[in-house]
Amino acid sequence: MSERDNNMNRNSLRDRGPGRGPHGISMPVEKAKNFKGTLKRLIKYLMPMRMRLIIVGGLAMFSTVFNILSPKVMGKATTKLFEGLMMKLQGIPDAAIDFDYIAGILMILTVLYIVSALFSYGTQYIMAGVAQKTVFDMRKDISEKLHRLPLKYFDSRTHGEILSRVTNDIDNISNTLQQSITQLITSIVTLSGIIIMMLTISPVMTLITLITLPLSIFITKGIAKKSQKYFKMQQKMIGELNGHVEEMYTGHKVVKAFGYEEKSLAAFQRLNDKLYNAGWKAQFVSGIIMPLMTFVSNIGYVFVSVVGGIFVTRRVIEIGDIQAFIQYSRQFSHPIVQTANIVNIIQSTVASAERVFEVLDEEEEEVKGNEIPVQLEKIRGEVHFKHVDFGYKKDVKLIEDMSFTAKSGQTVAIVGPTGAGKTTLVNLLLRFYEIDDGRITVDGIDIRDLTREGLRSLFGMVLQDAWLFKGSIWDNIAYGKTDATDKEILKAAEMAHVDHFVRMLPEGYQTELNEEANNISQGQKQLITIARAILADPFILILDEATSNVDTRTEIYIQKAMSELMKGRTNFVIAHRLSTIRKADIILVMNEGKIIEKGNHEVLMEKGGFYSDLYNSQFLGKPA
């Protein structure tokens, strides 16, 4: 009986994870690369709670043992009943059923059941704490780790990939801790307990039941193998079909404009057919495991009934023993299936844990510990690049031996076509990435000798809308300075021309910004980032002039606000406006991620290279 309740328990709680639910054993499981090592590490996480775990193990064991004892005890009552009845039938005088004895047995049973239930509740109750506390720690560790990882880590992975490790994988671990560990103990105890109990009743009948054991293992294994093939195929087809759907829906406009609907439908039908074929086979093959297992167990049942019946007539065993034996043999195959299931679940859990540990093992941003503290009052904001080499990949150098000086108050313009890799400079200046060779200094101090926090506190930034977060306009501006007063925030908003449009919004500064906020235009978002930078009042400024998607009036405000902001600072401008470029003290020309030319406007024009080409084609409207 107990095996079935565990099954149901599982279904209700964990049909979220992959490979769970009724077809647990027949679905392919993902395996860990280093199973042993990861398992050891996972166990280490549990070590602080080992006392509780030992208690859980003990409780689970006792609960199961009591459960196993009960059919045998119940059988005694049946025997007594039967004996009394037989005596009455045989006409023995004064023959009666010994109800006192039966009542006594039933009382014992009641106690057994209650104790077993209490223990089983205890295990689950304690495990709830253990499992959740463990994954709480894991989540905490991983979150803190994420704050120490270099940007390189995030840029080379999708958000979904990282998120799934913090949520899905940890969820998987939590479910397994909650359920599978106790189940594993229960299953093993049940299995051995049942065999012992059956042996005490009748070794011959036990032998008959045991014969069914290899049969069920054989069937399960054989079918599971076959069904895995189909499940893999199904998974692949689902992937392909989803790919097609996504592609056709996102490209809907193009599909229609080019009259591609029929071909798209035909392709869909082809994939849908294939999915159907793989799908029903996977379903069918995995679906026959249960009936076959039941059949094997039923055959055992029949043998037990027949052989047991014959034994009773020969007085080898008692009638109550058959009843007990039937119950035992009924329970027999389930722990086997369940153990196989749990082995799979543990495999996928260890794979999940491995992915979590992978994150925890990533190389962190280097912290030296002997950094020079930033003395704000002495900062002038002079930036030096000295023979700087850099590349995102080891073998592709984007910047080679670059040197230049931006004196305090000067402007460096970065010029080049869209996608030319202009964010590289931001990455280097703020030490999101480390340079490969050379030095970058601020006021003569190598930026690697400063703490990252100290360095970043010198900079202000005005980039695209991705630089705002979900929250009110007020909070977004206030983000620029830790303890800004309301007055300061308002002043910054006024200077950046944010104030006048915010006042027209129904919720004013409390208007929430989010991805779909249509109440605020791109240009207005940019004004907000300018206000934030004004509030931060940095020594060095990095700003992006890109103004596509901005209406003309806002554009004028942005220009005004930007030139206000740039006054008296060292500026790095991703430049789009000719006036900015021509006025710049240094122009860095970028193409395909590389800095290819450097100098001021006159020098570069004279050189007649990429910059002069770009300049001529842009502003004269003719190919160079």
Partner: protein
Amino acid sequence: MARIIKELKTFTIPIIAVIVLVFIQSLSELALPTMMSDIVDTGIVKGDVPYILKIGLWMILVAAIGTLSAILASFVSSKVSSGFGKQLRYGIFFRVEGFSLSEFDQIGTASLVTRTTNDITQIQNFTVTALRMLIRAPVMAIGGIIMAVSKDAKLSLLLIGVVALLSVLIFFVSRKTMPLFKSLQKKVDRINLVLRDYLTGIRVVRAFNRTKREKERFHEANLDLTGTAIKVNKIMALLMPLMMLLFNFTSILIFWFGSVRVDNGAMQVGDLMAYIQYAMQIMFSLVMMTMMFIMVPRASVSAARISEVMDMKTSISDPQLSKKVDARGFIEFKNVSFCFEGAAEPVIKNVSFSSWPGKVTAVIGSTGSGKTTLMNLIMRFYDVTEGKILVDGVDVKEINQKVLREKIGFVPQNAVLFTGTIADNIRFGNESITGDMLKKAAEVAQANEFIDHMKDGYDSEISQGGTNVSGGQKQRLSIARALAKKPEIYIFDDCFSALDFKTEAKLRNALKEYTRQDSLIIVAQRVNTVMDADQIIVLENGAVAGIGNHKALMKNCEVYREIVSSQLSEEEIA
């Protein structure tokens, strides 16, 4: 839900077959304890070994029949559920392919994708379980009750009491846990949200040294989630032992009262043994049914989302009689206004202009001024609210959509490429073009150079979403695709933005040559893209603020002058 169940009608016969098969299987399961009780009551009591053997053989036969039916049922139900999924999936995809852009706006592309994929998988999985358990559970319960009553009607009163108690228990527990499960899900979402925020804004967070704040936010969400998770799991920990206790007490009670009846001669021992097994079967079936009820709400959410798509009517349909069109390359807007469904303010207001072969029309204006919408109207992705659009002299509503769109070569703002080779992508609208034409299109689009640089040239594979080519390359391929179609009207919707100025200038020059016979509409934000056009339409807030060439507009259009002065310096304007 009902709407989706109706779709199952195609599978009526197989479903009936499954029900019959499951019924047979359940009967065989129920028959075994009965036959066992015969062994006890007749065989053992009388010591009749041949009788025991005979019944044993019958039992194997019954078990075999049961297994056979179960396997057959699994076969049929697998085919039904997969077939059902296939049918729904095709139904949805077919519908969505016919949708106009307003339906896409209404539901959202991402949501449509989920509905076609995940939601249908959900329904399909639900069907599998329903066919396996939903049918089996009641059959087992009813069968169990019939057998129990037939063995001993009076004892069954006890059973009814227990069943009632069990139902009450299930009801209260689920009422208590359901909201907890919901809030658990919410808290998981919250953790996700906090983390996603951090990931998207990571540069801001670090640049402003706000790591601590993010850590605190995560910690709070983590604590909150853990608290609820512990609570939920502790309640769930209570449920199973309680249920088991109820089951076990039932068997004790049955045994006690049963043995009294045995003593009275109202019942036999074997019957009592069988009876306990029936009771267990009935209760397990009940629990199984509740599991189904837990699944139903989830499936019905998916079902509702699917039905919504199924019931949605396409707002744009072909005319019954498509008019024949002889001319080529003419477009005329006659007092066109357009308002999105449910919107208060029209996005296009009384726009009139015309374009004919050999002419370049440019549309300029700030974001949200209605440029893209104007283009969508020409291709009839939406229907105009007022006025008329004529293509080659015929109202677009009177032309078959396919015919209309065959005339137009469209380059969207966001370049979309599809899985397949570069050649496949260029041939997308016209599979019959020759290799030379294909190369010519690529050349004009300034794509030939980088294509030739690729290892497999025109046979290079584009990965899904075109992630293996750069933004500028994507745009150029998307332009080549429109050129290869050799249409009579070209629409370039702000599609030069990812090109550097040099490439753009080259492309525009080549384009002039290639499209000499055709009508060209270019939407742009950059002044230098539109400066040479024959006519420039300046849009502001959906209305025409001016039409004319650069010179004329500089003279008499304030809005245009503003745009120009914000982009070019004084000397360039002159």
